[in-house]
Symmetry: C2
Subunit: 440 residues, 2 copies
Amino acid sequence: MPVNMISKLLEKAVLPALDVAPPVKIGESRRTAVLRNPNMEKLQKGYLFPEISIKHEEHLRKYPDAKVISLGIGDTTEPIPSIVTSAMAEYALALSTPEGYQGYGPEQGHKNLRKVIADTVYPDMGIKETEVFISDGAQCDIARLQTLFGPNVTIAVQDPTFPGYVDNGVIVGQTGKVDDAGRYAGIEYMRCAPENAFFPDLARVRRTDVIFFCSPNNPTGHAASREQLRQLVEFARRNGSIVVFDSAYAPYVSSSGGAGGAPRSIYEIPGAREVAIEVSSFSKFAGFTGVRLGWAVVPDELLYADGSPVARDFDRVVCTCFNGASGVAQAGGVACLSGEGRAAVQRVVGVYRENARVLVETFASLGKEVYGGADAPYVWVRFPGRRSWDVFAEILEKTHVITVPGSGFGPGGEGFIRVSAFNSRDRVLEACDRLKSFLA
Amino acid sequence: MPVNMISKLLEKAVLPALDVAPPVKIGESRRTAVLRNPNMEKLQKGYLFPEISIKHEEHLRKYPDAKVISLGIGDTTEPIPSIVTSAMAEYALALSTPEGYQGYGPEQGHKNLRKVIADTVYPDMGIKETEVFISDGAQCDIARLQTLFGPNVTIAVQDPTFPGYVDNGVIVGQTGKVDDAGRYAGIEYMRCAPENAFFPDLARVRRTDVIFFCSPNNPTGHAASREQLRQLVEFARRNGSIVVFDSAYAPYVSSSGGAGGAPRSIYEIPGAREVAIEVSSFSKFAGFTGVRLGWAVVPDELLYADGSPVARDFDRVVCTCFNGASGVAQAGGVACLSGEGRAAVQRVVGVYRENARVLVETFASLGKEVYGGADAPYVWVRFPGRRSWDVFAEILEKTHVITVPGSGFGPGGEGFIRVSAFNSRDRVLEACDRLKSFLA
């Protein structure tokens, strides 16, 4: 058979299997025939923080000499205590020795780190080291949890809140399209505003499979009280829902004891083990935003409707989609939780907390309605009747201070801006001076 | 209204919204009403490598004094050159200084690392630094790519191959159920066996949206020739498919030049930029299995059927589901790709390559049918008429050497075992002695 006949036959053997039209040439580029993931199409255009970076860069092009101060993205700025970085350096250098070399660690994390988290972050809460899964950060865990839950679950989120819960839900296919106000069809938005003490009226909240709850909340800075969290756990138990509790800002809680205090963990609430997963992070606790380390707790008692443990499937996701956090970062994590390390990182947390206090005082002195700051590194300021992005743009234009428009955290954030306490004291004071001149 | 009436009303307001039956008490544990993700249910019971760890532990319990040698999971064992670990240590220590502190890096990775990868791994292949996305390893990138593609695409994989492509596809919902032979409905398995020079007869391969292709292949150790990859790219272009090329073992290719050599990158093939993504890793190149660092290349010219760039959606996935690789690991990656660093890590690769040669020679001297090893750290040995798990168990029982059953990599691996060259020379030689006594 002549070669070109063979090739014709081969082509025939392949072409009938085509699911979609063959590619066409468009200008220089040749498209594939692969359809774009419809869930990716549903995502709102820009992810909040990259959008703000773009605005920042545009501003720098317009005012090349401006001394821009960023109180925008919640990124730590202060050096990490040397007890922690020395531990990381030591671990790294040991990788050059036969005794110190380590290849793959367990996907779930080094045993010593899991244990020290169970012992020091969850004392008397009955959390076992095997229930602690080490990760490369809370955002990554949220993505893996959404992968775990899959497209069929319904979810509820605080409004406003960190956009990662919703965006990862959209990507795995839990939602319909977004409306003009920024609400995705299928998601239950639980309004958290000054009017309801930043806690939803649960009697009016539709039952969902999963409830994402961040406390202290990003962006409002509100730490839910013990009574509020008791209601949340009871609501989840009554409805058979799973709470994903994000405690990334727990080290900023100032009063955690007693009935009035804000718990640092959902597991301080009786009955939480059967309904709650907790995700947390070293990022804001120890300045590990670039080092990348966090964890998730999935208690053994948390079961799906068929009685199978959620932890078993989560373990499978961790082993299949992830391969463990960097061993170097894990060595740093262990150092953070030693007695001396803990004291040292808590001093840095203290710097940001004092920044937050100064920011709250500044806005209050200007007669602004201001929230948060006491138990969180975020200050939440209302600008009644204004649109968040307009306020953001005006503050940037007039004071060269970057904030975050509240509407970036959900429709319930409209009319607010979030001001981050993550910067050096000098820059925060300078920003306060500029804000005072501008807003006075 | 009396309080208990209010509470009755509140209960009513919540209960009608229940989607599923309220939870019931089962023994001590209280189930939630959340349905388990049906995609997770589809996964075959054990993930291969944890399963092998379990067998390893069982063996140690049975023979507490046995000197077990692991030629199983492909985990690096040799120390990392100190030029690399010094760079990581230096970076870590600098995090304790105001000048050296870095918070969040760009989600896509540090600019200097992206540039050095584009320049040194892809010289003359037209890869731009902005097309390189830094990650925490190839497995994590495969999971993110499957999240990107979503549930509606069809996929093809080599059979046998690394299980991560399929498992992550199952998790996002691309497949039906698994059959008794271990094949998931909906996946196109491309048999790669000695009989077809480890390359599928593409004329008989059904068109799919995405083709996962690993070369040098894990587990067979076969590096596809230039002509084979030319056929693959042509096949993808003809069908409008996307190739995900996994080059994690590229540093082990011994002859990459000329028509007969095996390319180290898919981008050595003309026309690949319009159809191929490449994922790769520092794990097997620089002993970074525990440090966690890899990358993906998504060329600008790779387009979905609607003309939108795949890279734009991948960027969004990286920003939403991930938050960048550890900065410490990235500093190590830069050091690996300096002139001196490259020479040093290549010397370690040489150790494993020599191990592979010794293993091939051992099995060949015993009259075994043996493949791979020349361009890969894996040796693929056939045991005709035997089941892989039986051979694995027998070798472990008789020689205390851990291997990997070929069937763990897909039904096409049945009757083979994979032997890893990742161990010290002494242990590999000792393992060879034991295998010789056993198999002779």
